[in-house]
């Protein structure tokens, strides 16, 4: 009796209760992580980006692309002069695993060479491959013949 002081039922009860307690603590951690994401999202949505000139309209012929960096010096982006004369710009970071996407004018698509992800250049929406989310769009403003990047929509 002295070697095994625990009653069998009591031993089972303790282990189950401890497991339940651990489960509740884990539940609290998951709740905290979800709340943290909500807070980070709130902070990110209030960020303001610089207004920066990208290029002159004539520098990018119709159907061609210009690669630049926005909003930070490490953030690669692409400016597209779509057939029809419209300009759009997107982050080059693929929404799958952050490889750089490139414009392929012969196929009129944005292509990620890492996992063959394809995006629609008109909207930035994923068309094929593993990406599930659209490319972050860079808001453009034209003043005279200068194109400015004024913000980013995730």
């Amino acid at each position: 009796m002295s070697e095994f002081p625990y009653h069998w039922d009591a031993d089972e009860l303790v282990s189950r209760r401890e497991l339940l307690q651990f489960a509740v603590y884990t539940s609290g951690t998951l709740f905290a992580a979800t709340t943290l994401l909500a807070l980070l999202g709130l902070i990110r949505s209030q960020e303001r980006h610089d207004v920066r000139p990208i290029a002159r309209v004539g520098e990018v012929p119709e159907g061609e692309a210009l690669y630049f960096r926005y909003p930070d010096p490490d953030d690669e982006a692409v400016l597209l002069h779509l057939p029809g004369g419209r300009f759009v710009a997107y982050s080059q970071k693929c929404t799958h695993l952050s490889c750089s996407v490139y414009y392929q004018p012969e196929h009129t698509r944005l292509f990620c060479p890492c996992h063959n992800g394809i995006f629609n250049p008109l909207t930035g929406d994923p068309v094929a491959g593993p990406p599930q989310r659209r490319l972050p769009q860079i808001i453009l403003r034209q003043e005279g013949d200068l194109l400015y990047a004024v913000g980013q929509v995730p």
Partner: protein, 79 residues
């Protein structure tokens, strides 16, 4: 010498087991909510995440309440 725990009140072991089973299932739901929240965060839709956090918080509060209820030991009248 460690004092032995008292035996569980009659009928409480199944209650603990049931709470554990439901708790693990709800924890799975919380994990799923977290993945959806991460997806929304990356997609730039932070407003939707607050709802997910609220549901996750309710599950957590339910777990705390269950723990509190199970700590109460009913008086047993023996004849």
């Amino acid at each position: 010498m460690v004092r032995p725990e008292p035996p569980p009140p009659p009928g409480q072991t199944p209650v603990v087991l049931a709470a554990l089973t439901i708790g693990v299932l709800l924890m799975g739901i919380q994990l799923w909510l977290l993945t959806v929240a991460l997806d929304l965060y990356l997609a730039g839709q932070p407003r939707e995440i607050w709802r997910l956090a609220a549901v996750s918080g309710l599950i957590f509060l339910g777990g705390l309440l269950m723990l509190r209820l199970l700590r109460r030991r009913p008086r047993i009248q023996r004849q």
